[in-house]
Structure formats: structure tokens, C-alpha cells
């Protein structure tokens, strides 16, 4: 229940969301939960980062949104990956790995 994890680049958050959506449709709250749980509480995404990120994904056509019913019968908006989104996920993961490796090399250099 802390505040937003700082310094999370917008691109990275998009990546996390896309990845989380790979398993299936989810609503905003579910996404926040999932990210928190999978990162062992390491990443806490607040509303003011999550929802803008989702909008960005919508703008670029990587996800689409639909109103549906949640598990406890509340009206919720569900997001799903589009085909373009899947492609984007793949390329972004690749890119991200490459950068992390590079950063690692710099940090570990003697």
C-alpha cells in the first residue's frame, strides 16, 4: 500500500501491462494486482500511472477495451491484447532484454 514506484519509465510500464495481458483479458485493478504479486511487491502501480498507460496502449492500438462484468458482478472495463499488441510485446521484450544486458555490462565492468 505504498505510493507509486518511482522512476518506472512509461515504456516499461506499457511492457508490463502488455505482458500481463498475454494471459487473457483483465481489468485495471486486476492488472495492478497482478503486477504487484508477480513482482513480489516490488512494483506498485498507482491509478495515476496505470490508467494513462492503458490509454496510451489504446491510442496505439495495442489493446482494446470492452465493458464487462467482474468476478464479483461489478461493471468493469476489460482490456485485451490485439494482434498488433502481441507483435509489439515480442519486439519490446527483445529490446528491453538487450538494454538490461548492456546496462549490466556497464555496471559490472571493472
Amino acid at each position: 500500500m505504498g505510493h507509486d514506484t518511482p522512476d518506472l519509465l512509461p515504456g516499461t510500464l506499457d511492457l508490463l501491462i502488455l505482458r500481463s495481458l498475454r494471459a487473457g483479458a483483465m481489468h485495471g485493478y486486476g492488472l495492478a494486482q497482478q503486477i504487484r504479486v508477480h513482482s513480489d511487491e516490488g512494483l506498485q502501480v498507482g491509478g495515476s500511472s496505470l490508467y494513462p498507460a492503458l490509454q496510451r496502449l489504446l491510442l496505439n492500438g495495442w489493446v482494446k477495451a470492452e465493458w464487462g462484468t467482474s468476478e464479483n458482478n461489478r461493471k468493469a472495463r476489460f482490456y485485451t491484447l490485439t494482434a498488433a499488441g502481441k507483435k509489439r510485446l515480442a519486439s519490446e521484450v527483445e529490446e528491453f532484454d538487450r538494454i538490461i544486458l548492456a546496462i549490466h555490462k556497464v555496471l559490472r565492468a571493472t
Binding site: 485493478y29 491509478g47 495515476s48 500511472s49 491510442l59 492500438g61 465493458w67 467482474s70 461489478r74 461493471k75
Partner: protein, 898 residues
């Protein structure tokens, strides 16, 4: 794709907002559930959930920013806010829109005219592909082409879809219905209309066969000629008419508005041109135009013709050495030239001043308003609005006002432009210095005009917003909040800036008033000047002796002599004469180079030019020009070996320094004859000089030489006949009828045209001055009204603002005069600076005014004094009036109602 999605978002904005709010609510509830499940109590759970969710507002804003560019959003907000503020402050908005609308409207009207007369493309299909080719001599003078050269060009040039040639001519149409009538016409090659892409709407176009030597004579009519002489009867096609003493068949009628090359009303094939020298390379009488082949640039066409011209020059060095070709767009060749640009340019300058004055007015209003809104601005700024944001808000309000003003201005400009263009019609009558309007010019609003309007709008809003923004940017929010916007640094600075603006307005007004005054003065002088000529009952008309009938000089002289005899015999004429040129007639044959006998004299290029008129007997007597020294002409003065000349007073002043010229010999040379053909003439008399505005100053000089027609080595075939009716009241029609009879008796095919009384000619010559005078006067009055209203508003506002201060002063014992003086003092200072700047500017610009109306004297003390007095009195009234209200302030009320 993204753009479309953005668009979709903007359209469904409301829905999207609601959706997001619902989503956030859902998230909040889920979180609250989670917290409750892990043991949190009810109210805490909700609060904690909210905290976990984070800032709602931030979420929404950021989400929105993803879709809508934030700057666009801000600007939309500013626009909506600005519109609301303007709607609330109706008086300000109304005043600003009217003032700016006036400025913009006037500017746009002048531009519309400029566009029509000077900028617009010709009305032919793909007009920008039409070009004209001219010969340029070693001295850079442009001229027409020889027919032989044209043939070579047509044969060898590859860059053109086709080349066409034209020769202007007079077409004297006679027979049929009515007496002989003169039309302007042209001989053109058969491909002309095809290249122009216009076709006759009756009958057929020329074909190549029509243009063969010896082909049956054909003629094409223009729409207006068809209407006026043939009553619009379609049956004229196929009939024959008598033109220039020949019979020709009418083959077609061109649609309305086509009078190419300039004012031609009839066309015949070039091969039927009787006077055309087809072989002599030095006879350059043909105008050559053409259409560029598709894909060919003008540069390539130029190179093409350059090469061909070079070849011709080699083959014919005597005639074509050192001659080049210049290819220009047809549009450029039609450009009416310097005079039009100067006139319209000056007008444009004048109306720009008015616009600036209007902008200054509105800027002052804004400054005044800003002191009212300074509190609001200060609060905004302390809430975090950046300075730039506040300034942008202001500029957007200015832009809104400008857009409204532009709408007002557009309607005003269409109205004004049509009035002004009617004035230009008068110039087609050929007053001196006339602006020749292309035949297709009509005033209408096109994209260029609208673009200009948009630019004006933008300019106005920036000009208006500049000073208030600067003022705003210097305003310290703290100070404003502290003293409640009542006095203090910001307000004082605003007032100072308004003062500076006012000085600028006053200066510009002085310039405009002064210019108008000078023009009016020139007009008045011309109106009441001594004409020298006795214009009562004098009627003038013109004839043109056409070739081939009058090609021989002897034949011309014979005709003139016979006509002269007949005219003297007419009882209703007390006097009659013939001359090549008469005062007030815009014929303008230019001048001839002068040589004086018995002195060292510059020759060639440096020889001075004088005007000349070849005259028949009794010229001076008929017109009423006094011969002040020596004598008038006798019949012997025209005889070979005894040629005599009469000069005017200005000539004497210029070349003889006032000494007696009688008996001296002079010689005049011109381009149409060689120096040996020019006779030495003995000066036999001195004629009175005519006032400036009467003489057609085509040669740029006032010195005039009169010579007998008999002594002229290259007599003019265009002549003017002047008759003085015995009964001054008899009128034009009677004289015209008599003249037609006499001319018709000598040559029935020869029409008489341009019938005018001398009084009418005088009136026409005054028209440009009158028109410019009235335009400038109107512009100046508009400027005066704007400035005065601005001054009044400024003072009134100052009074209202400083009422507190006034109350204090009066309570401390100040008398009403002192209070009034407090305000008027500022006005006096502003007036003085404005006058000084304005008068200096006026003198500097005086030269410019002289370029359009010759007799304007920029330093004229009478005009300057009148302008100063006018402005001072108006300004003082405008400031004393509201200041008097200051004196009526009741100190008690003001101090109490703080």
C-alpha cells in the same frame, strides 16, 4: 490511424470521461474490498483505498493528455474563456471590433483593388504558360519585333506550343447602319485564339487558310462591337462589312470580355495587314506572344529564342546586331507600370496607418481593461499560471476580437472596393497619368484576398496584444494584490504606455491629415487656376488618317489643307483649326530632341527634349492662346526653306534665359526621321505658357515648340480638330454634326471620334486630383475620428480610475480648474510630441505624395497650420470634456466608498 483514434476520442469526449470515472470508481471499490477482507474497518478502508489508488485528478488529466495534445487543450480552454470574457464586457468588445473592423476593412479594399489591377492572373486557361517576347536593344529599351524575325522564330523555335503575332490598328467601319465609326482592332495570326484557348461563340475561328496572302477578306468581331454596331444580331455572321475601305466577311463573334491584345474590338488575319513590312528586319512593328509547350520552362524558351536571335544577328548584322530577346510572362507585360504601383502603394501605406491607429486604440482599451483585471491576473499567477500562460490568454482574446473584426472588415471592404473601382473607371477615359486597367479586371474576392485578410487579422491581433502583454509581463503579482489595483506602479505604467500609444496615433493622424490637406489644396488650386485658354464654346474632336490611303505625306497635307478650307467656310464656326495635339488631350506623342543654332550643344543622347505640336493656321487664335512676342504663323511659315516655329514662354525661360528668341534658329529631331530631313526653323513668335495641369507633360518638360504642319518632316496621322462655335451656347451636337458633314464630304470612310468640349476636357483632367483628394480626405477623417475617440476614452478612463486621488486632492483644497488641468496637461504633452513627430514624418513623406499628384507642395505652411489647429482643437475638446467630469467628483462620496 492514431489520428483517427484521437479524433474519435475528441468526439466522444464526454463518454470517455464518464468511462474513466467509472473505471476509477471500480478500482477504488475493489481495493476497498481487498482492504476490508484483510481486516480494515469501513471508513478507513475507503480512505485507504483512495490513497492506494492515488490522485484521481492526476489520473484523469494524464489520461486525457494521452489523447489530446495538451497545448491544444489549453488553447481550447483559453479560447472558451476568452470568448466568455468578451461576451461579458460587451462595450469593450463592441468598440474594439468596430475600430479594428474599420482598419481591416479599409486595408482589404485597397488590397482587393491592388490584386485586381496588378496581381491577378490573366483569365485565359493556364494563363501562366502564356508569354510575350520582346526585342531589347543595346540600351535596354524594349520594343516590338519585325515580321521577318517573327517568321524565323516561328520556324525554328522548339519550346512553344505556338507563337502568335499581332499588330494593332484602327478599323474604320462604314456603310450599313449608321455613319463611319472607328474601332480599335488588331491583325493577328490565325492561331491566336487557339493558343489563347478561347473560341467564338458565334461563327468560326480563323483557320490557316484565312491567313494566306490573297485569301478572301475576313473579320472577327468582339462582343461589345457586335452589340453596339450590329445590335447583337446573329445574322451578321456571314455578311460583309466595309472596313478601312475594304470589304470583309464577318466570320464570327468572340465571347464577352475577350479584347486581346489590349482593347481590340475587331480582328483580321495578319496577312491582310496592308501596311506591314514583311521583309525589312528593321521595321519592328509586330507584337509576338506565345504559349509555352507543356513541360517547358520560361528559361528554356528564353535560351531557345536567344540562340535563334543570335543566328539572325549574324545573318543580318545591319539591322539586328546587338539586339537581344526577352521572354516574359504575359501577365508581366500587361502590368500597368509604375504609376499604378505608386498610386496604390501610397494608398496602401495610408490605410496601413489607419490600421495601426485602430490597433493602438484597441491596445489602449486593453491596457485600461487590464488594470481592471489585474486582480484576476494576479490571483491566477499566484495560483501557478505561468506568465506565458497569462499572456497567451490575452493574445487569444486579441485574436478573437480580430477575427470578429475581420468579418466586419470583409463586408466593409467589398462595399468600399466597389466604390473605389468605379473611380478607376474614370481613368480609362485617359486622363494624364491614368491607370490602365486590363479589360478583364473586375473586383471580386479570391483566395489571395482572403489570405491577405487572414494575415491582417493576425497582424492586428499581435499589434494589439503586444503592448498589453509587455505590460503584463512586467506586472508583479504581489504589488497588485497589495494595493488592490487602484494605483501604484502597474497602473501608472499602463497609463504611460497608453500615453505612448496615443502619441503614436496622433503622429500618424497628423501625417494623414496633412497628406489629405495637401491633396485638397492641389485640387483647389487646379480648380481655380487661370486656364489661359478661353474654353467657352470650344469643341474638339479627333481623326486618324489611315494607311494605305494616306500613307504619302503629300496626301496627308492635301487632306488637311482641304479640310481647313472647308472648316473656315462653315458659318456656325467662328474659328477652326487643326493640330497634332491640343492642351488637355492625352495623346502624348512624347518629345523631340532639340538643337539650337549658333551655340555649343550636347548631341545624341544628351540633347534635351522638348514637347512639340504641329499646328494648322489659326491654332492660337481658335484656342485663345496669346502670342506675346512676335507673330502667329502665316501660310509661308510652312514652306520649304522658310520654316518658322513658335516657342512658348517656358522654352524661352529655359533656353534663352529670357532674352529675345525671335530670329534664332532651332531644329528638332525624332526617331521617325533622320537629322538631315529635319529643317532648321526660325523662331517667329513666343506663345503664352499654359498652366501645369493643362499641358500633357508626356515629355516631362514644359517647354513647347509649335511648328506648322507643312514644316513637320514626319507629320502625325492622328490629328485633332478644334472649332470655336460662333454661338457659344450651341452645344456639342451641332458642332459634331457640322464636322461630320465636312469630313464626310472629303472622305466618307473617315470617322470623327472623341468629341469633347474643352470644358469637359478640363473637368476630366481634374478628376485624378479630385479622386485622390477625396480618398485621402476620407482616410484622414477616419484616422482623426479614431484618434479622437481614443483620446477621449483614455482621458475618461483616467478620470474614473483616479477618482480616489481626485477626491483626496479636492478635499485638500484643489479647485476644479486645477483638477481639470491635471488631465489636460498630459494631453498637451502628448499632443506636442505627436505633432512634432507627425509633421516631421509628413515632410519626409512629401516626396512620395508628389509622385502621385504633381502639384503637391509638401512644405506648404497654410496646410500645415490648418492641420495643426484642427488637431489641437479637436484633441483639446476630446480631453477637456471628460476632464470636466473630474471636477464634479464629490470628495466625500469617493473617499467614503473606498
Amino acid at each position: 490511424m492514431r489520428l483517427l483514434r484521437r479524433l474519435w476520442f475528441v468526439i466522444t469526449r464526454r463518454q470517455q470521461d464518464d468511462d474513466l470515472a467509472a473505471e476509477l470508481e471500480f478500482h477504488r471499490q475493489m481495493k476497498a474490498d481487498e482492504l476490508r477482507a484483510s481486516g480494515q474497518r469501513e471508513p478507513d478502508a475507503r480512505v485507504a483505498a483512495q490513497r492506494a489508488l492515488g490522485n484521481d485528478v492526476l489520473a484523469r488529466e494524464r489520461s486525457r493528455e494521452v489523447w489530446i495534445w495538451p497545448w491544444l487543450q489549453d488553447i481550447t480552454q483559453d479560447v472558451k474563456f476568452g470568448a466568455r470574457m468578451l461576451a461579458r464586457d460587451r462595450r469593450f468588445t463592441f468598440a474594439a471590433v468596430i475600430a479594428l473592423g474599420l482598419g481591416i476593412g479599409i486595408n482589404n479594399s485597397v488590397f482587393t483593388i491592388m490584386n485586381t489591377a496588378l496581381l491577378r492572373e490573366l483569365p485565359f486557361e493556364d494563363a501562366h504558360r502564356l508569354v510575350e517576347a520582346r526585342i531589347v536593344d543595346a540600351r535596354g529599351r524594349e520594343g516590338q519585333v519585325s515580321y521577318a524575325d517573327f517568321l524565323d522564330w516561328s520556324a525554328s523555335a522548339t519550346s512553344f506550343e505556338g507563337l502568335m503575332a499581332d499588330v494593332g490598328t484602327t478599323m474604320n467601319v462604314s456603310g450599313g447602319n449608321g455613319s463611319a465609326e472607328r474601332f480599335r482592332g488588331a491583325y493577328v495570326t490565325a492561331n491566336t485564339f487557339r493558343l489563347l484557348r478561347v473560341a467564338p461563340f458565334l461563327g468560326r475561328d480563323f483557320v490557316a487558310d484565312d491567313d494566306r496572302p490573297g485569301a478572301p477578306a475576313v473579320i472577327m468581331l468582339a462582343y461589345d462591337a457586335w452589340q453596339s454596331r450590329y445590335g447583337g444580331e446573329p445574322s451578321i455572321v456571314g455578311q460583309t462589312i466595309r472596313v478601312n475601305s475594304e470589304t470583309a466577311t464577318v466570320i464570327g463573334v468572340m465571347p464577352r470580355g475577350v479584347t486581346y491584345p489590349a482593347v481590340a474590338q475587331m480582328w483580321r488575319p495578319l496577312s491582310s495587314a496592308t501596311n506591314l513590312n514583311r521583309t525589312e528586319r528593321a521595321a519592328r512593328t509586330v507584337g509576338v506572344s506565345g504559349r509555352l509547350a507543356p513541360g517547358v520552362s520560361m528559361a528554356r524558351a528564353q535560351a531557345d529564342l536567344d540562340a535563334i536571335a543570335a543566328q539572325i544577328a549574324q545573318a543580318h548584322p545591319a539591322a539586328n546586331k546587338e539586339l537581344r530577346v526577352r521572354v516574359m510572362s504575359l501577365h508581366e507585360s500587361y502590368s500597368p507600370g509604375d504609376v499604378a504601383w505608386r498610386v496604390l502603394g501610397t494608398l496602401m501605406g495610408a490605410v496601413t496607418f489607419v490600421l495601426l491607429i485602430a490597433c493602438a486604440n484597441v491596445a489602449s482599451l486593453l491596457l485600461a481593461r487590464s488594470t481592471h483585471r489585474s486582480r484576476e491576473m494576479a490571483i491566477r499567477s499566484s495560483l501557478g499560471a505561468s506568465r506565458w500562460r497569462i499572456i497567451r490568454q490575452l493574445l487569444i482574446e486579441c485574436l478573437l476580437v480580430s477575427v470578429l473584426a475581420a468579418a466586419v472588415g470583409l463586408s466593409l471592404s467589398r462595399f468600399l472596393a466597389s466604390i473605389m473601382s468605379n473611380a478607376f473607371n474614370i481613368f480609362d477615359a485617359g486622363a494624364p497619368g491614368s491607370v490602365v486597367r486590363p479589360f478583364w479586371a473586375d473586383i471580386s474576392v479570391d483566395t489571395l484576398t482572403l489570405t491577405f485578410l487572414g494575415a491582417l487579422c493576425l497582424f492586428a491581433s499581435i499589434a494589439v496584444g503586444l503592448v498589453p502583454s509587455w505590460h503584463l509581463s512586467r506586472t508583479n503579482a504581489n504589488d497588485v494584490l497589495k494595493d488592490g489595483g487602484r494605483g501604484g506602479g502597474a497602473t501608472r505604467r499602463a497609463r504611460r504606455m497608453s500615453g505612448v500609444l496615443l502619441v503614436g496615433q496622433l503622429a500618424l493622424t497628423v501625417i494623414l491629415l496633412g497628406s489629405a490637406g495637401l491633396m485638397v489644396r492641389a485640387y483647389v488650386e487646379a480648380q481655380y487656376a487661370d486656364l489661359v485658354l478661353d474654353t467657352r464654346g470650344v469643341v474638339t474632336m479627333r481623326i486618324v488618317l489611315p494607311v494605305p490611303k494616306y500613307a504619302a505625306v503629300e496626301r496627308q497635307r492635301q487632306f488637311i489643307a482641304e479640310l481647313d478650307q472647308r472648316l473656315t467656310a462653315v458659318p456656325s464656326f467662328s474659328s477652326a483649326t487643326i493640330g497634332s495635339d491640343i492642351p488637355l488631350h492625352p495623346l502624348g506623342f512624347g518629345g523631340r530632341s532639340l538643337t539650337l543654332d549658333g551655340r555649343p550643344w550636347p548631341t545624341g543622347e544628351d540633347a534635351p527634349e522638348v514637347q512639340f505640336t504641329s499646328v494648322g493656321p489659326r491654332y492660337f487664335e481658335t484656342l485663345g492662346i496669346a502670342v506675346v512676342r512676335g507673330r502667329a504663323f502665316t501660310p509661308f511659315d510652312g514652306l520649304r526653306g522658310q520654316e518658322g516655329a513658335i516657342v512658348n514662354e517656358r522654352f524661352v525661360a529655359q533656353y534663352f534665359a529670357g532674352a529675345d528668341p525671335i530670329g534664332q534658329r532651332i531644329k528638332m529631331t525624332g526617331p521617325a526621321f533622320t537629322a538631315d530631313q529635319a529643317p532648321w526653323m526660325t523662331v517667329v513668335g513666343v506663345a503664352q505658357g499654359l498652366p501645369n495641369f493643362i499641358v500633357n507633360n508626356a515629355a516631362g518638360t514644359d517647354a513647347m515648340v509649335y511648328l506648322p504642319i507643312g514644316a513637320d518632316p514626319a507629320p502625325q496621322r492622328a490629328l485633332s480638330i478644334v472649332v470655336r462655335a460662333a454661338d457659344a451656347a450651341s452645344g456639342k451636337a451641332a458642332a459634331a454634326a457640322a464636322l461630320r458633314t465636312e469630313v464626310g464630304a472629303l472622305d466618307p470612310d473617315l470617322p470623327v471620334f472623341g468629341i469633347q468640349t474643352l470644358e469637359e476636357a478640363v473637368a476630366t483632367s481634374r478628376v485624378p486630383r479630385r479622386i485622390f483628394g477625396s480618398w485621402f480626405l476620407t482616410i484622414a477623417i477616419a484616422a482623426l475620428i479614431l484618434s479622437t475617440v481614443g483620446l477621449y476614452a483614455l482621458t475618461a478612463h483616467g478620470v474614473a480610475q483616479r477618482s480616489h486621488e481626485i477626491g483626496v486632492r479636492m478635499a485638500l483644497g484643489a479647485r476644479s480648474q486645477q483638477v481639470i488641468w491635471m488631465f489636460v496637461r498630459r494631453t498637451v504633452v502628448q499632443l506636442t510630441s505627436g505633432l512634432a513627430l507627425g509633421l516631421a514624418g509628413l515632410i519626409a513623406l512629401g516626396r512620395l505624395l508628389m509622385a502621385i499628384v504633381r502639384d503637391v507642395r509638401p512644405g506648404d505652411p497654410l496646410t500645415l497650420t490648418v492641420v495643426t489647429l484642427l488637431l489641437v482643437s479637436v484633441a483639446l475638446v476630446a480631453s477637456i470634456w471628460p476632464a470636466r467630469r473630474a471636477a464634479r467628483v464629490d470628495p466625500a462620496t469617493v473617499l467614503r466608498g473606498d
